[in-house]
Structure formats: structure tokens, C-alpha cells
Amino acid sequence: MAALLEIRDLGVEFRTPAGVVKAVNGVSFDVGRGEVVALVGESGSGKSVTALSVLQLIAQPPGRIAGGRVLFEGCDLLALDEAAIRHVRGRRIAMVFQEPMTSLNPVLSIGRQMTEALRLHLGLSAAAARQRAVALLDQVGIAEPQRRLRQYPHQLSGGMRQRVMIAMALSCEPELIIADEPTTALDVTIQAQILEIMQDLCRRLGVALLIITHNLGIVARYADRVNVMYAGRIVESGPAAALYRRPAHPYTVGLLNSVPRLDRPRGRPLEPIPGSPPDLHLLPAGCAFAPRCSLAEAPCRIAPPPLRALGDGQASACFEVERLLAGVPA
């Protein structure tokens, strides 16, 4: 059976004064029903742009879908007209954005923004919409929801605004939730509470979740599968357990070494990946990670390595993956 969401060879470009930026460059992955799929990777690697493309939310210009398909239940979302995609947005696919302040309207009360969506998408009466909004705020752990509904976004703390966004995403019982850094601004107990709610929805109602996050702990706890992005491409993908046990790309190894861990003794210095992230205007001909990679050899500088299957559902875009897995220090 086909997956709920199938992204195929997606390419997205931006025209900038300094030239064309290939923000997303041939990205393919699936999200199945009830599945939690994580998208991780370097800042600027194209995670948000990938997510925004799914719902045709890339401003064109300066953006442009350079190619590929986004199949949702077999239907190409990129081919839908504005009216048709609007029917999908919010209702069948909900999105939680990275910056809640930019996606909440500052001059409308929280209640107004929540009930409007409920009335529009579910056809609820004003009273019913209000009741549902209260229940949703309660579900994401906001105290005194009635009073909060009367407030404006600037009167809430960062974490509360983010929870309002999550409540709005849950409100229309979508089939797919795309959450871009949904819990970065939240403390860990609320983070856990919200991710448990989301995971429960996935398990119980078969809702699929595509989660973008920098937090590798969250990925380890909640994700079934992981896609690692670097400079607009997927460099590694696979089941979460396999990817953490046996990371198969030097960039993934670098990511895992960068995080301090509560289950390890304190005092080990952090090991950031040496060098700096690539300039998308000046991508090297070969593997974009090669300039920062201690395993890089001549072929790595000639052409980008394709994503190759390693078995057990894991795949890596690295010419030197055999040496990496054999334990040559990266």
C-alpha cells in the first residue's frame, strides 16, 4: 500500500541577489499512516522549505518549485489550484510553524483565531466552537482556558503561544500533522505532555506526524523513522533505532557527538562539527559535507553521492560509508 504522503524528487529554488539558491535538491521520503517521521539536520539545510512546499506555502517569487511531486493519498498536492489546496490546509494536513509569533495574528484574540478555524473547517456554531477551543487549550496544558481565549498573543509567554498553535493544529483532526520545531520554546514537561498527545493521536487515530526538530532526544523517544538533511539533500535515512545504533553518514555521527547527554557523566567537552555550514550559493561539485569531513577522498569532491540502501531500511549518501561503519574515526 502506498504511504499517506510520498515526497518524490522535490526541488525548490530561491532567486536571490547573489544568484539562485537550491534550498531543496532532490528530496524523497514517505510518511505512512500513524507513523512519526523526523526530519533533522543542519540549520538552513532545507527542512522548513520542504515542509512548506507540501502545502504550497513557498512564496513564488522568490521561490520556485523546480521539480518533483508531493503525493497525498496519491494526489499531487503541487498540482492543485489555490481553492483545492486551501481545502487540504488546516483540515486534512495541519501545520505547526517554527515561529508562533509570525503565524498568530497579533490583533486578534486567541479565542477569535481558534474559533474561526473551527467554524470554517468543521462548520461548528459559535458556542460549540468556543467549547471545543476551551477543551483543546486544556488538552495542551493551558490553565484557565476561558480567560486565555480573551487574551492577545503578546500577553502569553513564548511557550503558551506555541501551545496555542498546537491546539489549533489538533483542532480539525487532520490526517497529517507537520510540526516544525513544535516544542523548542517549551519546557521539557510540557514538551513531553504535548508529544505524548501527538503520539497518542498517531497510534489511536492513525494520524501521521512529520516532525522537524533539532532535539535528538525527542527523535530518539518519538520517531519511528528519521531523515537527516544537509545542504538541501537527504544524506541518511532509516529506522530511528538503527540510525542511532549505527549512524551511516559522517554528518550524522557529527550531530550525535555534538549533544551533551544527561545519561553521561558531565564535563566531557562538546565536539562541534569542525568548519562551518555550506554556503548554498557556492555548493561544491561533490558531496556538500566533504569540506568538513575527515573521511573525504577524491571521489567525494567530484559528484554528490547518491542515497544507497544499506539493508534494514537504512540508506546513506556517502561514498565512504564502508570505512565509516568499519570504525575509521570520522
Binding site: 523548542t184 519546557d187 518519538y222
Partner: protein, 351 residues
């Protein structure tokens, strides 16, 4: 070179005086209440949000104090009071021996040189119309430290290099840089006036883990080299543990536990601290599968209407009648820690 080595040698931090040394920053019974207005436009004040409700705390010279806690518990508000961006409703903020509320204009300006901030959002905290040279040089201009444009530019270049950025970025605009680069520009700007104290409010939260690791190392190195003092506010407890000498835990406007970092993480005493630590996911699916998850039940009470007694009692598994009626004071437990809980036993004897 790293701050941790020094932290290890420091005597077990006293609760009030920080790492054995004298305090640079002190909060005395700090309170900040925000009015909540009713009605449509010009409604009268109907109640108050008790954002910070009686916090006493001190930070020693060249100490890093971590501040963690529930979203909305008042961490940023404390930071803003320290920066004199908010005036306390009651209580005092003492900086280097002086109550900052009593400072006149010129003394306040001098304070603004010594106290700086790095905020979470590098996108919105830098002026998009200014180049990096202008952004980093602006404080030098405003405070009349470096009136000449050429001098400011040179100094900006040095600061960028101090923060691990190539001086070639000096003519770029914020949108022409990556998030991590922008965050470093924010740090370079904060350091321009050679401050003594920096409030880092979620300063690395928005960054990917590799850049986050770079910035954390940078902050540690700068502390060691320049003797900076930090208040490090963050949600990522593994990062807070890594960088802090001591950690303070807040809940609903109150401090519930303060301890040196190792004691706090190895042996948390307040039930809220325990819940907080158990909620931190570890980046390893194997470890996660076998870890018990203890989600704190219930919802966070409203700061407009905080519960009587211990603010945590509505969600605490240990709460009894006393907790519902009396407010526990932040009591020293020995070994440099303090806990506001009727149920917390004595600190374990360090092995």
C-alpha cells in the same frame, strides 16, 4: 581553559553567595506583577499575573547560574528585571553592591554597559537594515566609546573574530547569514562594551545541535578568558547542566530548588525538579525504551490565580494537607543546596 575545571575546584557553592566568592548580582525578594485588565479597551485592572513572586538569589563573579523551569514561570521576567527593562513591583535587584532601581540616568547608562543580553531569536533581535559592522559597532557609538567609524569597524572585526566569525562577514546583512552566524553576531554585539554580566535567555535554543555546541564552547571560553558572569536561561537541561556551575529551578514565579549542578542532576530533591529531569529525552532509542516516563500529571496553574500553599501541590505526588495550606520556604539542606519542599529529606551524603 574550560569553565568546568574551575567549577570542580570551587568549594560547594553556598546558596546565597554563589561559588564561594562575593556576589556580583543579587535578587532580594524580587516580585514582578503584571496587571490584567478587563473590559474591551480601557478596562480597569481586574487581577494580576504574579510572574515573579518573591525570588532571592545571588550569582557570584564569573559564575554561570542556570535558570530552568516551566514555560511561563517567570524566567525571562527575571532576566528583564536584571537588565532594567522591567521595574520590579517589589524587592530589589542589586548589581555590584548597588540597588539598580536607585541609579540615576548616568549610572543607569553605566549599568547598561556592564550588563548585556543575548536572546533566543537571532532573526528578530538584529536590525535587518544594518550591516554586521553597524550592528556590532552600535553600542560603541551609543556609549561614546569609539566615536570614529574606522575605529568602530576595526573593533567590530576583532569582536567577530573573538566569536569565531570571519571578519569577512562584516559587510553582510543579517538575512545573508545562517542562524548560528547571526547568533554569534548577537554575542559579539553583547560583548562590544566588555560587560561583566550577560543574561543568556534561550541563547542557543533555536540553533541546530552542532552550532549550539560551538556557541556553548564559545560562551565557556569567553567566561574563562574575560571572567564573565552568566545567567543562563534554557529549556534544554542537558545544555544547562553542561554549562552551569549552579542551577536554580523555578515554578510559577517561585524558586523551588537551587543547588550546584552535579548535586541537582545526580540527586534532585524537589518533586518538580525530579519530574523535570525524568522528562528529558536522551538521544538514544535503546536508553529511551527502558526509561520510565514520568509525565507530570495535571495542568500548570494560572499565575493570575496561583494555588494556596505550595505552588506545586496541585501536581505533586507527595502533597498532603500541609502542602495545601502552607507555603514552604526555600530552606538550606546542607551541601550548598536549598529546597522549598516540606517533603524533601536531607541531602544525600556525597560519596
Amino acid at each position: 581553559m574550560s569553565g568546568r575545571a574551575q567549577a570542580g575546584q570551587a568549594p560547594a557553592g553556598q546558596v546565597q553567595a554563589g561559588r564561594g566568592g562575593e556576589a556580583l548580582v543579587e535578587l532580594r525578594q524580587l516580585r514582578k506583577y503584571f496587571p490584567v485588565r478587563g473590559g474591551i479597551l480601557f478596562g480597569r485592572t481586574v487581577s494580576q499575573v504574579k510572574a515573579v513572586d518573591g525570588v532571592s538569589l545571588s550569582i557570584g563573579r564569573s559564575e554561570t547560574l542556570g535558570l530552568v523551569g516551566e514555560s511561563g514561570c517567570g524566567k525571562s521576567t527575571i532576566g528583564r528585571c536584571l537588565l532594567k527593562l522591567e521595574a520590579p513591583s517589589a524587592g530589589q535587584v542589586i548589581f555590584d553592591g548597588q540597588d539598580i532601581a536607585g541609579l540615576d540616568r548616568s549610572a543607569t547608562k553605566a549599568l547598561r554597559r556592564r550588563v548585556q543580553a543575548v536572546f533566543q531569536d537571532p532573526y528578530s533581535s538584529l536590525n535587518p537594515r544594518m550591516t554586521v559592522a553597524e550592528i556590532v559597532g552600535e553600542p560603541l557609538l551609543v556609549h561614546g566609546v569609539e566615536p570614529g567609524a574606522a575605529g568602530r569597524r576595526r573593533r567590530a572585526g576583532q569582536l567577530l573574530e573573538l566569536c569565531g566569525l570571519s571578519a569577512r562577514l562584516i559587510d553582510r546583512y543579517p538575512h545573508e547569514m545562517s542562524g548560528g552566524q547571526r547568533q554569534r553576531v548577537g554575542i559579539a554585539r553583547a560583548l562590544a562594551l566588555r560587560p561583566d554580566f550577560v543574561v543568556c535567555d534561550e541563547a542557543v535554543s533555536a540553533l541546530d545541535v552542532s552550532i549550539q555546541a560551538q556557541i556553548v564552547r564559545l560562551l565557556e571560553d569567553l567566561r574563562a578568558e574575560l571572567g564573565l558572569t552568566y545567567l543562563f536561561i534554557g529549556h534544554d537541561l542537558s545544555v544547562v547542566r553542561h554549562i552551569s556551575h549552579r542551577v536554580a529551578v523555578m515554578y510559577l514565579g517561585h524558586l523551588v530548588e537551587v543547588a550546584d549542578t552535579d548535586s541537582l542532576f545526580d540527586d534532585p530533591r524537589h518533586p518538580y525538579t525530579q519530574a523535570l529531569l525524568s522528562a528529558v529525552p536522551v538521544p538514544d532509542p535503546e536508553v529511551e525504551r527502558h526509561r520510565p516516563r514520568r509525565i507530570v500529571e495535571g495542568e500548570i496553574p494560572s499565575p493570575m490565580n496561583p494555588p494556596p500553599g505550595c505552588v506545586f501541590h496541585t501536581r505533586c505526588p507527595l502533597a498532603d494537607e500541609v502542602c495545601r495550606r502552607q507555603v514552604p520556604a526555600l530552606e538550606p539542606l546542607g551541601a550548598g543546596r536549598a529546597v522549598a519542599c516540606f517533603k524533601a529529606g536531607p541531602a544525600a551524603v556525597p560519596a
